[in-house]
């Protein structure tokens, strides 16, 4: 009995020591450090934006009154009457108190309620609009990345050819045109002048007369309404992918293993896909991961011009109205998306190339 009682604490000590070792090992692991860094980054950015947002000139009430007077032609008295009592916001509450309240709600995943939208939960707003942005900008990113990589690869491999000359010019020009100029040009030239489509019929996210559901009609409508925004995102971003891939391909072509592969008599197709393409694409993967993070924020101007129901358009409205809680929630989602995309990229790189993990350990 006594041996049993004396061995029990020893067993417990061993277990504790083993747990500590495992914990130490975990904290020293590459994945743990990357994730911890990410979480600290999210907290730091969230804190920074919390105070930055509140340092912006104008509180929601003053901004609302100014907007009504300036943009809706209301008199001061009418604007004050319209603004009376509609904001659930106390500008006199100490900032630190606001921050503590915000953090205590955040840990419970409560992003609070919109200041300017009559108490609508911010999470509801985000959940409603996020899928549209993810779909529209996500699809555009996939298309522009895939096409850009293919075209850039071909241009780099057959550099100096007709395709290279034409597409270099095209990519240089198109990557220099802002997306909203492209959108305006498409609307005015093809919508107003040539009347290929009715301008009003390309606005929104879906035909509001079609019942929501997984029906061919509804999905078709979603795709139809997303067509122009996606096209504009693709046109606005494909040039960058093309040029980056071309550059990467050219530098890869100078590697010894490509010469060896060609000397071995491998087919051109095999060299192009297995040796050149795969290696040239590696630097672009990190870039893609970062772009995936920014997909969440959408494109404010394009969403506004097409009245597309995305997060970017709502963020624009929230900033203009100084809707602190909504801005805060949206920035949190965007920050988290960028940080997690980077974490995934780091983890993927660490998995693909063990030297990355070892280097970190040595550091």
């Amino acid at each position: 009995m006594s041996s049993l009682t004396s061995s029990a604490p020893k067993l417990k000590r061993d277990e504790t020591a083993s747990l500590l070792i495992r914990l130490r090992r975990l904290t020293r692991s590459y994945a743990f450090r990357i994730i911890a860094q990410g979480l600290i980054t999210i907290w730091a950015v969230t804190t920074f934006t919390f105070f930055l947002i509140r340092l912006m000139p104008g509180n929601p009430v003053d901004t609302y009154i100014d907007a009504l007077m300036q943009q809706r032609n209301l008199t001061l008295e009418e604007a004050q009457r319209a603004a009376a009592g509609i904001f659930e916001f106390d500008p006199d509450e100490p900032l630190v108190q606001q921050y503590v309240n915000f953090l205590s709600k955040l840990v419970r995943l409560d992003l609070g309620k919109s200041i300017t939208k009559g108490g609508t939960p911010v999470l509801d707003i985000i959940l409603r609009y996020l899928p549209w942005t993810l779909f529209c900008v996500g699809v555009a990113l996939i298309i522009s990345f895939a096409l850009g990589v293919l075209i850039g690869l071909a241009m780099g491999y057959w550099r100096g050819g007709l395709l290279d000359n034409v597409m270099t010019g095209f990519a240089s020009i198109i990557s220099g045109i802002p997306d909203y100029i492209l959108a305006l040009l498409i609307l005015i030239i093809f919508g107003v002048q040539l009347q290929w489509f009715r301008v009003g019929e390309v606005r929104g996210g879906v035909d509001p007369t079609i019942e929501v559901g997984f029906t061919l009609e509804y999905i078709g409508s979603v795709l139809r309404y997303a067509f122009l925004p996606v096209l504009i995102y693709v046109l606005a971003s494909i040039g960058t992918w093309i040029l980056a891939m071309k550059s990467s391909t050219i530098s890869t072509l100078g590697e010894d293993y490509i010469t060896v592969a060609q000397a071995r008599g491998l087919s051109e197709r095999r060299v192009l896909t297995s040796y050149v393409g795969r290696n040239a694409m590696l630097p672009l993967v990190t870039r893609l991961a970062i772009s995936v993070g920014f997909v969440v924020s959408g494109s404010v101007i394009i969403e506004e011009m097409f009245q597309y129901p995305g997060l970017g358009r709502n963020l624009f409205v929230a900033i203009a109205q100084r809707d602190y809680t909504t801005m805060q929630g949206m920035f949190l989602v965007i920050t988290s998306a960028v940080v997690f995309a980077n974490i995934l990229a780091d983890l993927a790189l660490g998995w693909l190339d063990p030297r990355v993990r070892l280097d970190k350990k040595v550091d």
Binding site: M56, P57, G58, D62, T63, Y64, D66, M69, Q70, R72, N73, L74, T75, L76, E77, E78, Q80, R81, A82, A84, G85, I86, F87, E88, S114, T116, K117, G118, G119, T120, D124, I125, R128, Y129, L187, I188, G191, V192, Q195, R198, V199, G200, R203, G204, G205, P208, E304, M305, Q307, Y308, P309, R313, N314, V317, A320, R322
Partner: protein, 581 residues
């Protein structure tokens, strides 16, 4: 057998009655307008909340859904009946009454009664409506008449306008909230009590499932899309048999979003502000333009704490040095006119609100660089070798002119004033800011020169004289905000401080007294040049006659109404506008 016949008769009458009621059929045709309504998700049908009817339908479309008692005609200075059949001050002017038209119904079939008005104002009191600055009590006199009792000495024509322009809401939706509001008020609670704040939140968070309309149009949340919303005709309104559109399709968005829609002919009318080049495109596309007053214009604001703008002579010189006709053209093309009277009241209202002798006494500050130079010299300035004005210490007038970058019209006015004043010998640098920041810079006194609106969309001297002279300084701002730094108590008008004189200019109901008081204040503003009203802006609105018929000719008096008594409210309600074939 007799009983059977009786039942048959009653049933037949009911059936016929029902057919009679539904005999009114929706007119055909669609109105194609625009308003930047709240997107689905946060869009709601609450008449009192943000994201509700006020935001979604605004001053133009809300009166077609929730009727106001009356509609004001600016040309004739009179109210036209809408929901009310009669109105006016009671004999001793201690109260105001209006009577709802007989037969007025909500869209759910309930009669519109004085209880609805009382309930509307019960909620308004909780929310702190400006009407309660003068109104003490709102009560039903009978089924259709409601009385507003004024606080002692607070009866005014301004209060009348606020009463007659207020939308009445349905008790079927808001009755419970109104009952709570009345109970709180009767219990002596005030806005400092937690119950008051709790009820305010409750009102804000209330989400009516259906909109109960008094106007000929209504809608549900299912009618709200991302790109457009549709207001649908309903049969029970006083105006259901008058309007000639079956639905009003309202496109979402502001100027940049609606421009292609106007050009492609998918938008028949728009209240957005378009730049001159876009207006030219509309003309080239054969779209008619209708011009109405906007009720304001850009004004050059001084920071009175910054030398030399604390010097009246310098301000007067600047008024002479700016060509206001040029300012108008560069601000908004043909959609603006250079200010003439410099009275602190819009030019269109000056002859109505001031006596002729006061108007004659006003300095018009014609564009005259010689006069401007003489005033600068009188103020102690001389020109240096570069032609710049310098004070006795040799300092040039080197200041910043802050303006809102996102308001194209105000930016243009500020930039033109900068260029003209620099040509005259000032050294002004432009500073563009986001509009919220520009407004806040004025509030916080963090500017030297700035631009913001002057005038008002209300036909009263108070609203005009208040903006911007009183709007941007104490006591209109928070104590810690210096604003323009203009000390209103340092000036006296008829034995009152300027602040009190402006506040009381429309006190009482004697219009002649109003004119006399306004005249004295106008003379002071004119003499002191508290701001320079650069020009008065017009709203140039596209009206596509391929889509809409019945628009009156350009010289019709209805177009004298500014945007917040918009002409289309009256012309749609009374069936003047109709769908073009």
């Amino acid at each position: 057998m007799k009983a059977h016949f009786l039942w048959l008769f009653v049933a037949s009458t009911l059936v016929l009655g029902a057919f009679g009621a539904s005999a009114a059929e929706a007119p055909s045709g669609t109105w194609l307008g625009t308003w930047p309504y709240t997107a689905p998700g946060t869009h709601n049908l609450n008449s009192f909340a943000t994201g509700g009817l006020n935001d979604n339908l605004g001053v133009v479309y809300r009166p077609l859904v929730e009727l106001t008692p009356a509609y004001y005609m600016w040309a004739t200075n009179e109210y036209m009946p809408v929901l009310a059949e009669s109105w006016g001050f009671v004999d001793d002017s201690t109260a105001y009454e209006f009577t709802i038209k007989e037969g007025a119904l909500w869209s759910n079939g309930d009669p519109i009664t004085s209880a609805d008005v009382v309930n509307t104002y019960a909620i308004g009191r909780i929310l702190g409506w400006t009407q309660f600055n003068s109104v003490a009590n709102v009560e039903a006199v009978d089924e259709r008449t409601v009385r507003f009792t004024f606080q002692e000495g607070k009866q005014s024509l301004l209060a009348e306008r606020l009463i007659l322009k207020e939308h009445v809401v349905a008790s079927a939706n808001y009755g419970d909230l109104a009952a709570e509001a009345l109970a709180l008020f009767e219990a002596g609670k005030t806005k400092d009590d937690p119950e008051w704040a709790a009820l305010t939140s409750k009102i804000q968070e209330f989400r009516p499932e259906t909109l109960i309309a008094s106007g000929p149009y209504t809608y549900s949340l299912a009618d709200v899309g991302e790109a457009f919303m549709t207001l649908r005709w309903q049969p029970n309104s006083l105006y259901s048999d008058k309007v000639r559109f079956g639905e009003l399709k309202i496109w979402s968005g502001e100027t940049e979003v609606t421009t292609p829609l106007v050009l492609s002919g998918e938008l028949a009318h728009s209240t957005n502000v378009y730049p001159p080049a876009t207006i030219d495109s509309f003309v080239a596309a054969g779209i008619r333009l209708v011009t109405t007053p906007r009720g304001y214009g850009p004004a050059l604001l001084f920071n009175f704490k910054v030398a030399p703008f604390d010097n009246k002579l310098v301000r007067q010189a600047m008024a002479h040095a700016i060509n206001r006709d040029q300012s108008a053209f560069l601000t908004n093309g043909l959609g603006a006119s250079g200010t003439v009277f410099m009275s602190g009241i819009l030019d269109s209202l000056t002859p109505v609100l001031l006596n002729q002798e006061d108007i004659d006494a006003l300095n018009k500050y014609e564009y005259d660089l010689d006069k401007a130079a003489a005033l600068m010299e009188e103020a102690g300035f001389t020109r240096n070798a570069s032609g710049k004005w310098v004070d006795s210490a040799g300092n040039t007038i080197s200041v910043e002119y802050t303006f809102p970058a996102d308001f194209a019209d105000f930016s243009a006015a500020a930039r033109d004033a900068t260029a003209q004043l620099n040509d005259f010998g000032f050294d002004i640098k432009e500073r563009a800011l986001p509009w919220q920041e520009a407004a806040n810079a004025i509030r916080n006194g963090q500017f030297q020169l700035s631009v913001w609106s002057w005038g008002s969309g209300a036909p009263f001297a108070f609203n005009n004289l208040n903006n911007p002279t009183r709007r941007w300084t104490a006591p209109s701002l928070a104590p810690e905000q210096p604003g323009t730094g203009l000390d209103l108590n340092a000036y006296s008008v008829n034995g009152q401080t300027l602040n009190d004189a402006i506040v009381n200019v429309n006190a009482g109901l004697d219009v002649e007294q109003h004119k006399a008081r306004a005249g004295a204040i106008s003379r002071l503003i004119n003499e002191e040049v508290f701001f320079i009203p650069l020009n008065e802006m017009l709203s140039v609105e596209p009206l596509n006659e391929a889509k809409i018929g019945g628009a009156p000719a350009d010289d019709d008096p209805i177009y004298q109404n500014p945007s917040n008594d918009h002409f289309l409210i009256w012309l749609i309600l009374n069936g003047t506008f109709f769908p073009a074939s």
